[in-house]
Assembly symmetry: C2
Homo-oligomer: 718 residues x 2
């Protein structure tokens, strides 16, 4: 008789995966599985018995679909439409559609929430307890529906609701650095979502999912193509395809923008020049813009990278950035479009500290831009490092709306293999005080227009989205897309609030899961800074692909593309002197900032080597020498990844096997990479410090030459 | 009181999609949903009540997982393991594991099925009715399990089974033209599956699904990288990553192969030469191969494209292809590896008809290759056209195993937007008679070794697989992957059988669906030939991207990269004279073939203009002039796409909405593209024929200049 191994068989059965039902992350945070906690579900079922919702615009249809799918899923029951108001009715709509229902008194509160805001409140209507989602516009209704669903997904009470939401910024935009061949510059999550070769006919169902996800956090614009732009996107080969995407996104309140190549009049227009003051050029752009609006009546406008890293621009014709931006702005103005003109410029010849160049270039142009131009400024003056001081342009151009640019994709912060929750970085920048108009003149107030009274405001996030099944490569990188959108809507939210929401929606409401994992997310930023670029170091990454450490990178076409330019390590010490004795970049900040950061004693230690070149035996706040402190930070960073691994391992029973294993594997990789960063940097800097790695810290098991010899081909995102 | 629109609400509810449960094609043909026909399901439940299966090798675990998942899904019940044989027991295993069960008398029949074959039969055991899946090896068991599941998926009877299966070819291999940066040459289904930057640590769950799909049709090898090879794949940066993939594939009987760049000893070995007779070079390859086997003990071997389209090769050193192939073969032989040496060569200087060059190059080398070399020959002598006569090398190298190379990816046959079922093309080639040893010397017999008694045999298919969610871009392109594998296993299967199987497994067993859609698939090949390259025309496609028509392509770096070189249209007529009065390529075929094809009167019309330049008023078999017949074919082809659209529209109620709509949209695109091909080609050739488009055929609504002016940027796959 054949023996059999029952346990093996059972094991096999459990192993078997049903591919299409796998928890592969495709649903992002929009998960509407039945609420497991029956008490919570029962309460919600009682509070939301049926829905009254009028109107059939595409946006309202989208809102209704979302609400119905969400309620049916979360409450595990069909929530019917019902014409009779009763206890537990949910009323959803605009002033117009809700007016016939009765005395809801919406006029006054709606006046305060603007075009995109909404109200969610509980009230008595005809002596019945009802919940109301109301807005001035259809898209406001859509946003309100997503908010209501979020309350359910995160198990919030529905009694005595009185929410009033208005976005603090007008333009909440994603920047896709997607090329027309579907490669994505600095993309680590697969190819571009946009399947140009199948558009405009075939609409990948994913386009709608993308729009849903964005609308759920209030993102209302998307720049489809790379800022290193190909002019072909503006031709009739591509415009119908752009229009097809715009049609999918429109019901979700998302406008399409394009990156415009400044030399397009030459490349696709057959002109001899792209000089912004040339009437033919002006005429060409006017006609081109008219053509675009023929395809896309609500086209958002242009994003432009000009005279930067090889891109053409107005300076090719001895014109200013303002003259360049205004050329496009004038063409767009009749249609209501805007120009987002990037301030990320640095000259090919200029021997000046790169950190200073954008300021020098743009401050003199303050006030010279048209009303429909925003100058888009990266959070810091170098380039999306794990930590940078806020960009000195914030507060320095009071007459120009400045749009914040964050980089959601992790070019310099671990690419697709490092768990790096970015909200602490964004918040640090937004909460920083420029002192432009005295204490409390935060970067956030500059960007949201309240400091200087700007009408037009915005924020851009460089997308981390690709066609990987889970959209962002690393499952936790979804939190940066989510969080970016939430902060774009309301920069007063805390990193903790956002992590809490996202974890509950994406994984679990189990408090024993949410708290430790949220702590891990919050800590992840400082951990990455510690093992990559502690104490204000910056730009230490590998050449070109920007993967892993490269503090030895030197002798490149430009000094400011090397690492040695930035860390300035020598036998005396380390750090970039940006005080008066050095490049004096500090002078670009307002006096209280200069004062604090100008003295190493008062400069926050996280910016120490950004602004100061200090001797290896300089005494840091811990009492350790600078060298010892540097080592200590590198080791603490790498050790903390092991802590992150521990935290995650403890969640095994609380999350699905697929995502658990994916994150666990990526944390294993992150651990290796953190040790690699630590060893490479400590060994490299040790050549200059000529000091031992402090006692108690494990010595690297390979020599510096090993780390210097590593090569990485076929890295994604170049 | 608020009105409400019940129907709109219901409509919205129906519209709502649950993204992760969508019929997105990810499951391919391995769909194990409960059999809807209850009578069928009940019969199967009675026939397969429990399973006896011993053994715990990784392959047997994989087989058991598949069987359990499949039976549980299809039968909609748990099929238990049970030690007592009863009516309805399924016994699965090898001679060793099944021997203890009793008198199954497996020895003799198993002797006939070889290492990869299997038996499936019903019998009485201890007076019980049982079903047996038996094989000599674990992988044979796995294949048998997939076969049994296929019987269920296609609703075949399980009574009186007596199946005995053995693959007709040894090496059944996919060739991935995947680059290390995840671009795919001639790939139309997204980026490469291989996420090199996350390997070896992170194993995408998709790798296992890929292995399952291949094993289910008997594919047992995969070449991971492009034949236009990058030597880096052979370095220690990549080999651990290759090994990680090999580990995933191994339980599924799939060996990993690599494309080797002939100049690797120079590029990564630091040598000054790659001369195959240089002892240092020989030593380098020996050590490199030893190193590879250190990582991958069952490494399959190398695929090589040498001295072709710019690739380096032995001729750089005045050595022959045989000397080049033998260099690698000698290094691989001690480990049991093979070399697959491509015959797709044509000289840079040679003014000879390109169709003749591979034959001229390789026939003199017959018998000079090592035993572990196969020469890999494309199905036709030009390059994967919609139709080509079989390659004259088949039958012409009796002392050398010739491996067939088909192109599954649709480079020249509509890329990702045309429904083109390729089995009729493959079968046409395999069934063609070379007359090498008299009548009946089919290409299939050359390839399967029976004609000339070869031990080593194989077939390669250039993969159409990418990381698009449905793997192949076009839902029907899955049938070409499936069918390629099925024919690789058994080339005697008919196109109809394979279409029938695939449709039932992939979509539905509804006869009213299977029959018409199968007819459409079968017809699709001739339809594509008609609107692209009828009557033996070839190489008419657009420049470089090979998308759409380009009969005007001329004046390129090589004459044989143009269209005009191949169609030779002039005011006298059209076609490439490959008879004695022309290039005499016909002389490379055996006399009976020469005789038939050499005379336009007996030459099959599908090859007419391949071999003959004929006047425009030449009378074709239909009685029409050549010009009229050409027009007629182009129009019939395009019209037939409308018929395909009709056939598909009638299936709306029979397939899921997601895939229905996807295919419907792609057929809309195919219709446009067919008309584009038709109009462009007819207008172009009309310049030479100076004859009207026959009465009754709709005139193109745009001039030739319009079609010539079209440009296509950012086409995938270049």
């Amino acid at each position: 008789m054949m023996k059999y191994r029952f346990s093996l068989f059972v094991f096999c059965c459990l192993l078997v995966s049903l591919p299409s039902f796998a928890e592969d992350g495709y649903r992002l945070w929009l998960r509407y599985d039945p609420i497991a906690d029956q008490a919570v579900r029962t309460r919600y079922q009682a509070a939301l018995k049926n829905v009254l919702m009028e109107g059939d615009s595409p946006t309202l249809v989208a809102a209704r679909e979302e609400l119905m799918e969400g309620l049916r899923g979360l409450l595990d029951t069909n929530v019917p439409f019902n014409p009779a108001v009763q206890d537990g009715t949910l009323l959803v709509g605009t002033l117009q559609t809700l007016a016939p229902v009765g005395e809801l008194n919406l006029e006054k509160p709606l006046r305060q929430v603007g075009d995109e805001g909404y109200l969610i409140f509980t009230t008595k209507l005809k002596r019945r307890n009802v919940t109301v989602v109301a807005a001035n516009t259809d898209v406001g209704v859509l946003y309100g529906c997503f908010h209501l669903l979020r309350l359910l997904q995160t198990h919030q009470p529905l009694q005595n609701l009185n929410l009033q939401e208005t976005p603090k910024l007008d333009l909440r935009v994603l920047n896709h650095w997607d090329n027309l061949d579907r490669s994505v510059e600095r993309g680590y999550a697969g190819a571009s979502l946009w399947k140009w070769h199948l558009l405009p006919d075939y609409l990948d169902p994913r386009y709608r999912e993308y729009a849903r996800a964005n609308a759920s956090v209030g993102i209302n614009g998307t720049v489809l193509n790379n800022v290193n732009a190909n002019a072909l996107i503006l031709t009739e080969e591509f415009l119908p395809r752009v229009a097809a995407l715009a049609n999918v996104f429109r019901p979700y309140g998302i406008k399409v923008y394009l990156s415009a190549r400044f030399s397009a009049p030459i490349e696709i227009g057959g002109l001899k020049t792209a000089d912004p003051l040339d009437p033919q050029v002006q005429q060409w752009w006017k006609k081109k813009v008219d053509e675009i609006y023929g395809y896309i009546p609500d086209f958002g406008g242009f994003l432009v990278k000009a005279n930067s890293e090889g891109q053409p621009g107005p300076q090719n014709y001895n014109r200013s950035h303002a003259e360049g931006a205004n050329l496009l702005a004038d063409a767009l103005a009749p249609h209501g479009g805007v120009v987002m003109w990037r301030a990320f410029v640095y000259s090919n010849e200029e021997p000046e500290d790169r950190a200073k160049q954008a300021y020098n270039e743009f401050v003199p142009l303050d006030g010279k831009f048209r009303d429909n131009v925003l100058v888009q400024v990266k959070n810091g003056a170098i380039d999306f490092q794990p930590r940078e001081p806020f960009h000195p342009l914030f507060g320095a151009m009071p007459n120009t709306p400045l749009m914040m640019e964050f980089q959601i994709t992790q070019e310099y912060t671990g690419q697709s293999t490092n768990l790096f929750y970015q909200m602490p970085l964004y918040k640090e920048t937004l909460d920083a005080d420029t002192y432009a108009k005295g204490k409390g003149s935060t970067v956030a107030k500059v960007v949201d227009g309240t400091l200087e009274g700007h009408r037009l405001t915005g924020v851009a996030g460089v997308s981390n989205i690709g066609d990987d099944r889970n959209w962002t490569g690393h499952p936790f990188a979804q939190s940066n897309w989510y969080g970016y959108g939430r902060l774009a809507w309301d920069h007063a939210l805390t990193s903790e609030q956002i992590a809490d929401e996202w974890l509950r929606m994406t994984f679990s409401n189990d408090e024993a899961f949410v708290k430790p994992v949220s702590d891990m997310m919050i800590a992840s930023r400082e951990i990455v800074v510690d093992y990559m670029t502690p104490l204000g170091l910056h730009h230490l990454m590998g050449w070109s692909h920007h993967y892993g450490p490269g503090p030895w990178v030197t002798d490149k076409p430009r000094a400011d593309w090397t690492a040695t330019y930035y860390h300035q390590a020598d036998s005396n010490g380390i750090g970039f002197d940006r005080t008066k004795t050095g490049s004096d970049a500090l002078a670009q900040y307002f006096p209280p900032v200069q004062e604090q950061w100008g003295d190493p004693k008062t400069c926050p230690e996280e910016f120490l080597l950004w602004f100061h070149h200090l001797p290896w035996d300089y005494t840091t706040k811990s009492g350790r020498s600078l060298w010892d402190e540097l080592c200590h930070r590198y080791y603490a960073g790498a050790d903390s990844v092991a802590w992150m691994q521990d935290v995650w391992q403890q969640q095994k029973s609380k999350v699905d096997a697929d995502r658990f294993q994916h994150v666990a594997t990526l944390l294993d990789i992150q651990k290796k990479e953190a040790i690699w960063w630590r060893n490479a940097c400590v060994l490299y800097f040790q050549q200059f410090s000529r000091r031992p790695i402090p006692d108690g810290l494990e010595k690297p098991d390979r020599p510096l030459s090993y780390y210097e010899s590593l090569e990485f081909h076929a890295r994604p995102g170049n």
